[in-house]
């Protein structure tokens, strides 16, 4: 599994100064990747991320992860995601509706 920094053609030093930021809107939500900040270290990354990504919408928690720590699939290998036979039995479309309902419910409980 290649490192993300290799895919982005960054050096280790560059990638360790860029932090991916993940924001959690409520304690019941997953952390969602919202962007990156440049910072010398993780503590400063969080200080900067607070104003970049949490100054408008409410949120309860932030994560900052150095890009150098992220492993990623290669876009060249994208065919591993493509089903070659009919897999529609796996789609479970109704689950999505259920997720939407549950999500609204959780928000109300904030």
């Amino acid at each position: 599994m290649p490192a993300l920094m290799e895919l982005l053609r960054m050096t280790q030093q560059q990638a360790s100064r860029i932090f991916a930021v993940f924001r959690q809107d409520t304690k019941n939500d997953p952390h969602v990747h919202v962007g990156e900040v440049h910072a010398t270290d993780a503590e400063m990354a969080l200080v900067l991320a607070k104003e970049q990504f949490a100054r408008r919408d409410l949120c309860v928690n932030l994560w900052a992860v150095p890009m150098s720590a992220i492993a990623a699939t290669a876009y060249d290998d994208a065919d591993i995601f493509e089903p070659s036979t009919d897999k529609s039995y796996r789609f479970g479309g109704s689950y999505r509706e259920q997720q939407r309902v549950m999500r609204t419910k959780r928000r109300d409980q904030r």
Partner: protein
């Protein structure tokens, strides 16, 4: 309950005294907020640019809240108070009117000022006049981030290269005498403290501030010069820097006073 209706607002001597004190707080926040806003588009990186611009908006927002309450007691709208006074009517500390200089000076000043502001807000938050104590508590929540931002930047600059450390020491030497001036008592301070509105007088606040900031500065290998600042801001004695700043800041307002849009 507005301030004017509070027990404080019903006594003439206290009205004037406390109105004057609030004006000093508002002027500090407005002038420093304006200085911070001058970094918009020019800060060392886009992240710090966005963050400091956001801090600038918050400081000016705090100024507005203080001006509203000062206006309750003394008369005048926040706009009249912010834009309609001559430089010698301003009561801000001279520290906050100084030009931004380099990023090091900006950060050192921010650290020293926000620490002083925190001590000041604590003294108000513990006081008996509810509308003011509540306001101080609200502002303290927002100031928490300002403190964090300034201190984390200071720690990194002071701990980086020799050149960075030397420039931070230089900025501290320049800022320190005027930072002490944040606690220069306003004329009416005695009345304000004796009334019990503030739980600590300026001298006690200054002592607490000095203890807190020197602990951090010493940890970072920075020296404090024990030079005393001259009297100034609180009595309306300012540098030419404030005149220039107000000239910029009030230019649009002066073109058509009272215009609304």
């Amino acid at each position: 309950m507005s301030l004017a209706q509070s027990p404080l607002g019903r006594r003439d001597d206290l009205r004037a005294a406390f109105g004057g004190y609030l004006l000093a707080l508002a002027d500090d926040e407005l002038v420093l907020g304006h200085r911070h806003s001058e970094w918009t588009g020019f800060a060392p990186d886009i992240e710090s640019d966005v963050a400091l611009s956001s801090v600038a908006q918050e400081e000016i927002g705090h100024a507005r809240l203080f001006y509203e309450r000062a206006g309750d007691l003394l008369g005048g709208t926040p706009d009249d108070l912010a834009y309609g006074r001559a430089p010698d009517g301003f009561r801000n500390a001279v520290l906050v009117e100084r030009p931004n200089g380099d990023w090091g000076f900006t950060i050192v000043r921010m650290f020293l000022y926000d620490r002083a502001d925190a001590v000041r807000l604590d003294a108000l938050a513990g006081g008996p006049v509810e509308p003011l104590a509540d306001l101080a508590k609200t502002l303290r929540r927002e100031e928490k981030y300002h403190l964090l931002y300034g201190e984390q930047w200071l720690r990194r600059l002071a701990g980086a290269s020799d050149e960075a450390h030397a420039r931070i020491q230089g900025a501290l030497d320049a800022a320190w005498p005027e930072a002490v001036g944040v606690f220069e008592p306003v004329e009416e301070e005695r009345t304000v403290v004796e009334s019990g509105i503030m739980t600590l007088d300026a001298a006690a606040q200054a002592e607490r501030w000095r203890r807190e900031v020197t602990a951090v500065l010493e940890e970072l290998g920075l020296r404090v010069t024990e030079e005393r600042g001259g009297p100034g801001g609180r009595s309306g004695t300012h540098s030419e820097d404030l005149t220039v700043l107000l000239g910029d800041m009030t230019e649009v307002w002066r073109a058509e006073p009272g215009a609304t849009w």
